[in-house]
Every structure is written in structure tokens, then in C-alpha cells.
């Protein structure tokens, strides 16, 4: 018969230990644990330990000094002398200290789903974090900040309008590649289902995930463009993703949209959309973009170029009479 643990043996040991604690107190539990340790019945690994020494000259970030119960030296040698924990034969130390972010990162925040971050706050916080030295008063210096604010806010609006589930955003700058990367993901209904559930005229039973994504990237096409708000407005103009793709192209960046069983995107130097089937489908939607930091100067010029390229700003259009 195998001497290894099995379900019946595990339950018996657990019951014995629980009985020791509840019926005879801590000493009995300790005795049971010692007995088990001696017999080698269990190898216990404590996966959550904190080691710290409040007496060190520079202090410790945690626990607070006035927390008398916790503010004591707890290093491995102190841990091992705790009699009740003697049966614990190993630990996995968490190499983690929660300190002030100091502008180096923004905590993950939820988009949509009630109680989520506001679109404006989310986009501005992340842009501030990635471009902390942006001179927002100089359009020639604030291009990257403006682009990030714009892209993140449009993607967050999409999650709120389409996903029917919360989403999350992330962004990162890597100096080695000089790329700013950002992504928003939600675990919602996905692009194809959004066309179907909203009764879009674009939906057919034959519509694939890849075709639905390609539709969503077309100018003035949205799964909700035929719907109206209670105030009679068009719910969605269907230009958000189109423009983000155009902005990526205008900066020589990258763009990717994944939903269901397909990924559609393009890489630097190629304006052609490339579709890749996913081996494992993703129920929601992921949109990711990358921009080469050095190429982004004036956002107004960039946005103008992107809008013109997708027919959202008629060239030669005379709007001067509207401005004062």
C-alpha cells in the first residue's frame, strides 16, 4: 500500500487536528502537530510570512510603531523559535514591499461595471505617470501626453459602451525599445456578440470574429450606430477604434484588437491588417497599441493627419466661420 497522502488520510489528519484545537485547546493542537511532524505525515509550507526588524536604523515600512503586537523583530531565527509553528518546515518569502508609488506606477483600476474609475481620471492618471515631465502648456512638448490621454479615454469609453462587463487598463514605457505600450481588456461579450445582441444590420449568422473586428475598425461602423439614446442621439459614431488605428499608423506604431477567436492588427511599416486565428478563444475584447515615443511631437497635427486619412475631416473643408 502506498504511504503517500490520499484523500481519506488527509481528512483523517485534518479532523484530528481540528479536534485537537476545538476540544482540548492549543496545547493539544500543538501536540498533534508535533506528532504529525515527527511521523512525517505532512510537510507544511507557510506561503505568507513577513520578516522585518523595526530596530534597524532606517526603520521599516510596516508594521507601524504603535502596533505593539506586531512591532517586534521577526527574522527567520525568531520565526523558527515559535514553538507552535515548529511543524512548519519551510516558507516562501514574499519579496514585496508596498511603498508610496511616487509617480512610478498607477494602481490597477476598474473601468465600468459601476464604481469604476471615471474616463477622464483614468486617462489623465496614466498619462501623467508615463510622461511625468510633460510640459502641458507647450503643444510641441506635450504630444505624447495628449496622445495617451486621448487613446486611453477612447478605449475606456468603448468598454463602458459595449462590453457589458468591467475592464482594466495598463500602460508601460520601455526605454530599450522607446515604445509606449497601452492595453485595455474587458471580459465582456466581445465584438461579434455585440453586433448580434444589438441587432446590428451588419450581423449575419456567417459573420466570424475576424470579420466582426474588421467591421469595428471601419469608419462610422459600430455595433450600436443604429441605436439612439433616450435623447434621440446616435449612441456611437463608430469612429473611436478607426481613429486609434489611424493614430498608430501615423506614428509608425502598432495596433492589435483581439476578440473571440481572432486577433487583428498591424505592425510598424505595414498598413495592412493581419488576421491571426486564436487557438484559445477570448470571450471579451483586448485592444493594445504601441507608439514610438521619439516620433510623437504635436498631437493636433497627428490627430489632423489621422482624421483626414480615414475621411473624418474633409480636406479643404471651410469651417472658419464657426470659430471666433
Amino acid at each position: 500500500m502506498s504511504s503517500g497522502p490520499n484523500r481519506r488520510r488527509f481528512l483523517a489528519i485534518t479532523a484530528q487536528t481540528v479536534a485537537g484545537v476545538t476540544l482540548s485547546g492549543w496545547n493539544s493542537a500543538h501536540a498533534v502537530a508535533q506528532d504529525l511532524s515527527t511521523r512525517g505525515a505532512l510537510t507544511l509550507i507557510d506561503t505568507h510570512t513577513h520578516f522585518y526588524d523595526p530596530a534597524r536604523p532606517q526603520g521599516v515600512p510596516w508594521p507601524p510603531r504603535d502596533e505593539k503586537r506586531l512591532s517586534r523583530t521577526v527574522l527567520p531565527k525568531d520565526y523558527q523559535t515559535l514553538p507552535v509553528l515548529r511543524p512548519v518546515t519551510g516558507t516562501v518569502s514574499e519579496e514585496f514591499r508596498r511603498r508610496d508609488a511616487g509617480g512610478r506606477f498607477v494602481e490597477l483600476r476598474q473601468i465600468g461595471g459601476g464604481g469604476g474609475a471615471s474616463v477622464t481620471e483614468l486617462a489623465t492618471e496614466i498619462a501623467d505617470c508615463l510622461v511625468p515631465d510633460a510640459n502641458v502648456d507647450d503643444p510641441e512638448e506635450s504630444g505624447l501626453f495628449d496622445l495617451l490621454q486621448y487613446a486611453l479615454s477612447e478605449l475606456a469609453n468603448n468598454v463602458i459602451q459595449h462590453a457589458k462587463a468591467p475592464g482594466f487598463a495598463m500602460a508601460q514605457y520601455t526605454a530599450r525599445t522607446d515604445l509606449i505600450r497601452l492595453a485595455i481588456s474587458d471580459h465582456g461579450i466581445g465584438v461579434l456578440a455585440s453586433f448580434r445582441e444589438n441587432g446590428s444590420a451588419h450581423w449575419t449568422p456567417q459573420l466570424s470574429d475576424a470579420a466582426a473586428i474588421a467591421l469595428a475598425l471601419r469608419s462610422k461602423v459600430s455595433s450600436k450606430s443604429h441605436l439612439t439614446t433616450p435623447w434621440g442621439d446616435s449612441v456611437n459614431a463608430g469612429v473611436g477604434l478607426t481613429l486609434l488605428r489611424a493614430l498608430s499608423a501615423a506614428t509608425g506604431g502598432e495596433f492589435l484588437l483581439a476578440s473571440g477567436g481572432a486577433v487583428v492588427g498591424f505592425r510598424t511599416g505595414s498598413g495592412e491588417l493581419r488576421t491571426t486565428p486564436l487557438q484559445v478563444g477570448f470571450r471579451g475584447t483586448v485592444c493594445a497599441m504601441a507608439f514610438p515615443r521619439a516620433k510623437i511631437k504635436n498631437f493636433a497635427d497627428l490627430l489632423h493627419e489621422a482624421k483626414e486619412s480615414v475621411g473624418l475631416l474633409p480636406s479643404g473643408g471651410d469651417f472658419g466661420k464657426f470659430f471666433s
Binding site: S118, V119, T120, A123, T124, V136, P139, D146, Q149, Y150, S153, E154, N157, I160, Q161, T229, W231, G232, D233, S234, N236, A237, V239, G240, L243, N298, F299, A300, L303, H304, K307, L312, L313, P314, G317, F319, F322, F323, S324
Partner: protein, 105 residues
Amino acid sequence: MSLLIQLTSEFGDFCADGAKAAEFRYRVIDPFVQMHEQVVLDFGGVRSMNSSFANALIANLISQHPEVLPKLRFSGCNARVRVSVESALALGMERLRERGTAAVA
């Protein structure tokens, strides 16, 4: 008589939430379009605006109230804001053309 709407007092320096723009337009602009000779949207103090906001506020205002087009003016726009305003104007006017609304001409 002019209706002057200062966006920054309601939305700060970044206009980004399309749903809030739609609600604002319905509550603060729509009821007063008929009774004013001019409707001025003042973007002074607004650093940036995305397309969702611009289209919800401007393109939808034009397509819902074609009569606003001859009296609509924009002030205080920096270059970033102006691009989005012009694009929203183009979208609103395109919708009117598609419907054959005379106000565009």
C-alpha cells in the same frame, strides 16, 4: 441674444466622457436653442477633447437640431480641440446631407 456655454466649468480641462457630453447637451443646450440668436460653445481652458465627447456634444446637436447650424459658434479652441470640433461639425453636417436637410445648404 447669445447662449454662452463654458465647457471647462463643467468638464475641466479634458473633455473625454461621451455619455456625460450627451446628457449635458440634452440638459443645458437643447432646451435653449430655439430662443437664442447665437449659441456659443466656449472651450477656453479646455486643453484636450476626444472624438467621443466632440461627436456626442456637437455632431449630435447638429443632427438633432439642424436649425442650430447657422447660429453655432466656437470660441477659445486650441489646435487640438479645434481638430475635434471640425471633425464633429463635418460628421453632423454629413448626417444632415444624408437626410436631405436644407439647413446645411
